[in-house]
């Protein structure tokens, strides 16, 4: 049962979107790239919100989905001639989907904590495979490649500039947000939320809970993979560090800081965390992660609903 979104929401949405579109004009080069990175991590965080916020499954596996998306794109950009943006997307999403299916199959039958730990271990499995399979993945050093152009074969080819890449990423993020919003408001999304509220009851009503969970993991994994592809395109390298479980951990941090179950909350959380880290690293040159970590712990204890948690109801109308 979907309800018509309120006017206020759409006004807010377009205002923010407009601000984001013009923002880079006011910013120097470094900050434009930084903003692009924030958007990409925001997409990753948002993808994980499907599991954490809407289905109630804490996953530490997102680094696997993200990383495989990245490596998938790398594979495309290194093997196809000429390197095609769209093929990179296809390879990346496919890789992420396969990994998501694998993880989903083993993990979804497990409850809560076991699920969290198992997804973490799976992240590490992929990390080790990528790290040691040097011939294919470049091992420790990863892979480097060149950035493809925004092209429709036969029509035009436009190499990305920092500016146009930013807008491209913004467009992908915006569309992803709208799609995910649609999904969470659909009957499918309602079932996911019902699983979060009371899994036993949802099962008792007759829903095949495992299947819904598997789809949720795959959906989440796909968008995480999408973020991975974007990252590859932006930075032109793929490295095993991104598959390490710490990336998953940071993703969960973004979610909690921003407010789970809101879709935009995690994006805000990612922005807050990255900005905080950037700011602190300037003052404290090293070990800025110590105060960041302490702030995070304090938030978990005192502000578990996150920065946008108070707006959760409203954002989900």
């Amino acid at each position: 049962m979907t309800r018509r979104p309120t006017l206020l929401f759409w006004v807010g949405f377009f205002v923010i979107l407009a601000l984001l579109i013009v923002a880079p004009f006011a910013l120097p080069e470094f900050w434009r790239r930084f903003l692009t990175e924030i958007l990409i991590w925001g997409l990753l965080a948002m993808s994980s919100d499907i599991l954490i916020g809407y289905t109630g499954m804490v996953s530490f596996g997102h680094s696997a989905f993200f990383g495989l998306g990245m490596y998938g794109a790398a594979a495309a950009l290194l093997t196809t001639r000429p390197p095609s943006l769209w093929v990179a997307f296809v390879y990346g999403l496919l890789a992420a989907a396969v990994v998501a299916a694998f993880v989903a199959y083993f993990s979804t039958r497990l409850r809560d904590i076991y699920f969290a730990i198992t997804t973490l271990i799976f992240s590490q499995i992929f990390y080790v495979i990528i790290f040691t399979w040097t011939e294919v993945t470049g091992g420790e050093n990863g892979l480097t490649f060149s950035r493809p152009a925004l092209a429709i074969p036969g029509l035009f080819s436009l190499p990305f500039t920092t500016l146009t890449l930013y807008w491209f990423v913004l467009a992908v993020l915006t569309v992803s947000y709208l799609v995910l919003r649609r999904i969470t408001h659909s009957p499918f999304g309602m079932v996911l939320q019902s699983i979060r509220e009371n899994e036993a009851r949802t099962r008792a009503i007759g829903y095949p809970v495992e299947r819904y969970k598997i789809v949720a993991v795959m959906l989440s994994g796909l968008f995480a993979g999408l973020a991975g592809v974007l990252y590859a395109i932006q930075n032109r390298f793929a490295a095993p560090d991104f598959v390490f479980f710490l990336v998953s951990g940071e993703t969960v941090i973004y979610n909690v800081m921003g407010g789970i179950g809101t879709l935009v909350g995690p994006i805000v959380g990612a922005a807050a965390f990255l900005l905080l880290r950037e700011a602190l690293s300037r003052f404290l040159t090293e070990f800025y992660l110590i105060p960041v970590g302490i702030i995070f712990i304090a938030m978990v204890i005192f502000m578990p609903q996150g920065l946008l948690g108070f707006a959760r109801r409203w954002l989900n109308r």
Partner: protein
């Protein structure tokens, strides 16, 4: 060939015992408190560093072992009281996040205080004994024996001491333990402290075998989690059996592949466990 297998068997048991020590603390914490302690590896790491400092200060490995364990146990208690007790009664997700945050802080603290260059702990017993054509270090055997001793001490503590009975009662039924007047929050803090202390001890014991650096916890926490899941969460005996089993498998595997790849063995064991017996390979079938 036979000698190699035998040597790997001993290696496997030695590493397995340390892993068992680490995993015991973790499974104790999980079994009683339902807390997934992400910072467990960091307690191991800090224990190793504390060992380095204590060794430099006292010149005795044994004193260093004891001091390091106590210091980190106290740290664990402090962390529990400040960050985990406020989360009692809340969704378990919160504790996972809090311990993850703690692990982040502790790791970077170590990096800040001690720098990125690995330190070394000298073995207390140098010297080898003849094992076939090889010379096998006494120290490694000592590690296995000590780990076993610590675990045995834990078992005795749980069985016979006041707090031990309280801990067992709290594990079985936390609500009724409270209704019986058992100060459950205090019990939980003590369990956390014990688990941390055990991790620290394993850090000191393992220190001489590898370098002591701020990231050493990461490898162990992962293995420990696998052991805990395979052994059955909260099942002390199961964790020990699983630790030895997995380490043996990895030791044998490293006869054929590189150690970095041998870890895949533990992943395979985990996957098989999840498929066949998700409650734990070494758990008796629930009645």
């Amino acid at each position: 060939m036979l000698e190699q297998i035998l040597i790997q068997t001993i290696n496997g048991i030695v590493v397995g015992m340390i892993l068992a020590l680490v995993a015991s603390g973790l499974t104790l914490i999980f079994g009683i408190m339902d807390v997934v302690n992400f910072a467990h590896g960091e307690f191991l790491m800090l224990g190793a560093y504390a060992g380095v400092i204590a060794l430099a200060g006292t010149g005795s490995f044994w004193l260093a072992l004891v001091i390091a364990s106590l210091v980190v146990a106290a740290l664990g208690a402090a962390i529990h009281v400040t960050t985990l007790r406020p989360l009692l009664g809340r969704d378990p997700l919160n504790t996972i996040l809090a311990t993850f945050g703690v692990s982040l802080v502790l790791q970077n603290y170590a990096l800040w205080q001690f720098g990125p260059v690995p330190r070394k702990i000298e073995e207390p017993i140098t010297g080898y004994f003849g094992l076939f054509y090889l010379e096998y270090p006494w120290y490694r055997l000592m590690i296995a024996v000590l780990s076993a001793a610590i675990i045995a001490a834990l078992w005795l503590f749980l069985k016979y001491s006041t707090y031990g009975v309280w801990i067992r009662a709290t594990t079985q039924d936390r609500v009724m333990a409270q209704a019986m007047g058992i100060p459950v929050p205090r019990v939980l803090t003590i369990v956390f402290a014990i688990g941390s202390g055990m991790a620290a001890a394993s850090g000191v014991l393992f220190g001489p075998l590898v370098g002591v650096n701020h990231a050493m916890g990461l490898d162990w926490v992962l293995k420990a989690f696998i052991v805990v899941v395979v052994g059955g969460m909260g099942n002390l005996g199961g964790s020990i059996a699983a630790a030895i089993f997995i380490s043996l498998m990895e030791s044998y595997a490293s006869l054929w592949v590189s150690p970095a790849q041998a870890i895949i063995v533990s992943f395979v064991v985990l996957i098989l466990t999840l498929l066949i017996r998700p409650t734990g390979l070494f758990v008796p079938t629930p009645k």
